[in-house]
């Protein structure tokens, strides 16, 4: 029996445990696992980043609640999310969209990336990916300027050859 077929039922059970109960957060993507680390690596995916999983209990979320019953009785446009990771003190602010739920999701994604950098330092996948992207850009630029230089030299060569035949005006 493969390792993956053992782990999937464990993760889906963790998800169900998290969903139960009244007055609980609705973030089903973040199963409650001990420590901060994922249990499995997804094999075969080139671009997959092993980001730390978030434990909702470690997070403190701030958004405007307001008094009164909320819901239809209010039309507030404040949906900026401030997320604090209690163990490390890392704070993420997200106001990328005008949807509260999407901002909460994005804030958690950003938090996972920041935690990755925090825990892994230089070894962080996030930093490595960024370094790779920068290197690829620099390589592209270098090749582009080499090509321009070659073209320039070729043009010069052509004009040098044609000069003796020109009548200057």
């Amino acid at each position: 029996m493969s390792f993956l077929s053992f782990v999937h039922p464990v993760l889906s059970m963790a998800r169900r445990l998290l969903q139960g109960g009244i007055c609980h957060g609705q973030f089903e993507c973040y199963p409650r696992l001990p420590g901060g680390w994922p249990l499995i690596r997804t094999v075969g995916k080139k671009d997959f980043i092993d980001l730390p999983t978030l434990n909702e209990d470690d997070l403190e979320e701030q958004f405007v609640r307001g008094s009164g019953p909320g819901g239809q009785a209010t039309n507030k446009t404040s949906n900026c999310v401030v997320l604090r990771h209690i163990p490390t003190g890392i704070v993420v602010k997200c106001h990328q969209t005008r949807s509260l739920e999407l901002n909460r999701k994005r804030a958690r994604e950003i938090m996972r990336e920041k935690l990755d950098v925090e825990y892994k330092g230089e070894e962080s996948e996030v930093l490595k990916k960024r370094k790779d992207a920068i290197q690829r850009k620099q390589e592209k630029r270098r090749r582009a300027s080499e090509n321009l230089e070659k073209k320039r030299q070729f043009k010069e060569m052509l004009s040098a050859e044609s000069k003796p035949n020109q009548d200057t005006g």
Binding site: C23, G25, Q26, F63, Q72, Q96, R98, L102
Partner: protein
């Protein structure tokens, strides 16, 4: 008077032909800030200050959303720092002044910029169609979680998965469900012709019109027609008008003056439309089909009691809270009460 300022005034008075023209000309008479060349950041600060001076709620956010929108972004956070220090073009300046003047009349930002986000979707907004609230995003998540967790009694094949929404407004709930579940088909009803029209428009903009049927029907009056037209669904979802009539008076101006009161007022105890929905539900649902309602925080125990004291063909499943921890969502299921309850 600078020519830019003259153009802004003329454009503004020109647009005052819409229904809020009286308020619009009041705003103009109320001294708009002088128009001049300025940077994005300066314009945001200027209008924030102006809104504050005129007691416009959420002064900073209003200014930021409007200016971001003129620049083609959703929020200022999406605009590069460098861009914030650049000057607005004349055309952009005029547009900012035009939209901010509307906000000065207490028009909700969503109506000013004529759009808003709901989960992953951007929807067109138009008065007086009800503006989706953030709580309702959670209602959609609840439904999606349930539909994704269990393949709904194994019902695939010819009938497929169907949901019915009562009171669709701008179409937020149905369109969000359709977007999240490719195999879902949806039917939506609303008593308001403006809501039906706007939902249709949003469905077209999102390319979802083939999977959504919309009907102008009133759940409190057209019950049998709804049953005939809408068929049977595994999910019945609604954010029905649930405010108590007496609470309507204390609503903020943004809501009172611009949104459809009939999308808000649920009668004396806020239950008139909810009651109609629950009354029809057993005829509209498949076996073990579920009802998902957004309600006032006072409603869940009332609804639970009502369902448990009568034979209504529904069982009360559970109450869920919203992110502010207010009881907000009622889930019920078709079926008779189990013996001994």
């Amino acid at each position: 008077m600078s020519s830019l300022f003259k153009r802004v005034l003329n454009r503004y008075i020109g647009t005052a032909k819409h229904q809020f023209s009286r308020d619009a000309s009041l705003a103009v008479g109320r001294n708009l800030p002088a128009v001049s060349r300025m940077t994005v950041k300066q314009a945001a600060r200027l209008w924030e200050q102006h809104f504050l001076e005129h007691d416009i709620p959420e002064a900073r956010l209003s200014s930021q959303y409007i200016i971001a929108h003129v620049l083609g972004a959703k929020t200022l956070e999406n605009v590069e720092q460098r861009r914030l220090a650049e000057f607005l073009t004349d055309a952009q300046t005029e547009r900012v002044w035009e939209l901010c003047s509307k906000r000065l009349t207490r028009m909700p930002v969503q109506y000013v910029i004529e759009e808003w986000d709901f989960r992953e979707l951007t929807l067109k907004m138009r008065p007086p169609v009800f503006i989706p609230r953030p709580e309702t995003e959670e209602l959609v998540s609840l439904v999606l979680q349930d539909l994704q967790a269990q393949p709904y009694g194994g019902k695939t094949g010819t009938t497929g998965l169907q949901c019915l929404e009562v009171g669709c407004g701008s179409g937020a709930i149905s369109l969000s469900l359709l977007h999240g579940l490719p195999q879902l088909r949806a039917v939506a009803v609303d008593r308001s012709p403006e809501a039906v029209s706007l939902t249709r428009e949003n469905a077209m903009r999102l390319g979802l019109q083939d999977r959504l049927h919309i009907h102008q029907l009133d759940v409190t009056k057209d019950g049998s027609e709804i049953v005939e037209t809408c068929g049977v669904a595994q999910v019945l979802v609604s954010n029905p008008p649930y405010l108590f009539t007496q609470d309507m008076e204390i609503l903020e101006e943004e809501i009172l003056r611009f949104e459809d009161h009939r999308a808000l007022d649920g009668g004396g105890e806020g239950l008139s439309v909810i009651g109609a929905i629950l009354g029809l539900a057993p005829q509209l649902l498949s076996e073990q089909g579920r009802v998902y309602l957004e309600v006032d925080p006072r409603h869940p125990p009332l609804i639970q009691e009502w369902v448990e004291q009568r034979t209504v063909g529904l069982q009360y499943v559970e109450t869920r809270c919203d992110i502010t921890e207010r009881p907000r969502f009622c889930i019920l299921q078709k079926g008779e009460k189990r013996r001994g309850q």
